[in-house]
Symmetry: C2
Subunit: 353 residues, 2 copies
């Protein structure tokens, strides 16, 4: 089980559920509430703190953009049509006005890209900058998609090749600069199609392994990836990792994801979904198959791997956010998988420079 | 103009508005968005930070209670029916689990009192505890009430006698304890009646003078209070202030309000509103009348006062949160009003002990 989910289960154990709520805890990326005949409100809240504190986002425009996008991505994963965004802004007493306005610009543009608007918010003074937000959307036809819903035999896809979130985080944290811009867009249009034809959906905001962990835990299923796991990574980021002498699959492990959608579809509707997707130029990436046995299976450079994805997804949390420890822990797993002895530790901060 | 409003106007100046949004900036306590035929979503977000940092709320149950109530009070002021609450929790890595659970209990109970539920949320680690929230509700009949809407001649009321918020804040900050519990409830039922019959509504979450400033600024009107302004204060809190040798009206000035509703009604519908209110045991307190001239007029212990309420409402912000400075600034105004020379400064922290 993911550490965060365990914590959430603990603090919400004694709460009463709304009889109008469709999803239980963890079952969907956004909360789904019946508000009228066939009309469902999708609503989600998410705050950007760690990413600012750790220096991942320093540009105010990007901070604003991300504060909206993380929330819209959750709406995308339930296939909702965004109807508005509220922001919750904590700034210090010394935050310059232009910085604040640049945050608003980024937020505004991300809303605009998703066909909606900033409709309200709240500002407070605080010791550090934190930007939270709430996005809401509507589902008019009563049809829902959640993290929960896939069955053995369903086919697993991601909306695009992966790795941008992690390669961005690694380069920024190790080199203080990145060759790739990080302005992901929420997959709203894709999510709406998945809602019509798919069986479950989650975004990769916390990374590929975290998404896999969630789907496996919630649906009590396993996943068999059909090709080498490295094939899920975008070619450019794959090369960046090779150049840095790091195993490319680390980009699937990191907790800073790329905001793609991971979804399943039954074999019966698979062709219809793929055809409908291509009509608007979207070509989902095939991942593999949902299995009964609750294990993750894949190939890594010719080696067959069977694992519990929690062991990878929880590593950053266990490393308490220390990047050196984290990468060593990943290298440890990599070498175990490859049945190679652990190499003498290197100064990680030097690897990518 | 209130300093906070000036700031908000500055950072939102270049944003595009949603064509579905009914209220403009500052015009309503909650945002009002058309989401279907006659169906309006009311949604609001508010975070508790300063109150925790300044030691106003230390009990976790109360922190949870207030994080929900501040948001439900905004829904009350637009007469919406609460449908759910999302929480945004920032805790430190050292926050004990029982503390966290007690926050959730307070939040849960405040939701329950307002006929609704915690439907979701987000947790993050941060350097200090901050609890934010988003409440949403529905208006089914298309009829709205906002801060904007009153006209000269309308009658001004508050939902109950005032002063609890300020007397609580003063006692906690000066004596570290308070004779009065502070667990305000949102005036949901009252707000729904006001929405049917009233012309404008705002809650007193930021205090009486702040609410008056807002109504005057948004509606471009003035207010004439009919009785001595001290009569708006609950008898108990009035006595507390006399015992502390502080002018009771300071309780109307403070920025920590009591979450009552301040509203107007036309003379034509006044009787119907009062009669309907009394049917469920509610007896609104008469304040005075809306006037054309944009000034606040009232009597203070026999003296006629005419003022700009901003001068009082902005004082805490101008004092940068320093309580000694703030109370001296209030005493200064009091003495100007009473045409009394300013007394030699006393150690304020000693006044109430």
């Amino acid at each position: 089980m993911l550490i965060e989910n365990d914590f959430l289960a603990g603090i919400t154990r004694f709460l009463t559920r709304s009889p109008k709520q469709i999803n239980h805890l963890l079952e969907a990326d956004a909360e789904l509430i019946h508000i009228g005949k066939d009309c469902i409100l999708a609503i989600t809240t998410d705050t950007i703190i760690e990413e600012i504190n750790e220096g991942l986002y320093t540009d105010p425009y990007q901070i604003g953009w991300m504060s909206a996008t993380v929330n819209f991505s959750d709406l995308a994963a339930v296939g909702a049509d965004p109807k508005g965004f509220l922001t919750s802004i904590q700034i210090t007493r010394n935050t310059p006005l232009f910085f604040m306005q640049s945050i608003m610009d980024g937020m505004h543009d991300a809303c605009h890209l998703n066909g909606t608007y900033i409709v309200g918010g709240d500002t407070n003074h605080c010791k550090s900058i934190q930007i939270g937000g709430t996005a809401f959307g509507i589902i008019q036809d009563g049809k829902t998609i959640m993290r929960k819903g896939c069955r053995p035999g369903d086919q697993l896809y991601v909306s695009d090749k992966l790795g941008l979130g992690s390669v961005y985080a690694l380069e920024i944290l190790l080199k203080n600069q990145c060759d790739y811009a990080f302005f992901p867009r929420a997959r709203i249009k894709e999510g709406k199609l998945i809602r019509q034809l798919g069986t479950c959906c989650i975004d990769t905001s916390d990374g590929f392994f975290s998404a896999v962990s969630n789907l496996m835990f919630i649906n009590k299923i396993g996943i068999r990836i059909r090709h080498d796991i490295n094939e899920l990574i975008h070619h450019n980021y794959y090369l960046t990792m090779l150049n840095a002498s790091l195993p490319p699959w680390f980009l699937l492990a990191g907790p800073h994801g790329e905001f793609e959608l991971m979804f399943t579809v039954s074999k019966k509707l698979e062709e219809e979904l793929i055809n409908s997707a291509s009509e608007f130029g979207w070509h989902p990436i095939y991942v593999g198959e949902i299995t009964k046995e609750p294990l993750l299976k894949f190939q890594l450079e010719g080696t067959d791997i069977t694992c519990n994805p929690d062991d990878v997804a929880n590593l950053y949390e266990i490393s308490a956010g220390d990047l050196d420890n984290y990468i060593h822990a990943l290298l440890n797993i990599h070498n175990q998988w490859k049945r190679q002895p652990l190499k003498k530790s290197e100064k990680i901060a030097g690897i990518m420079t």
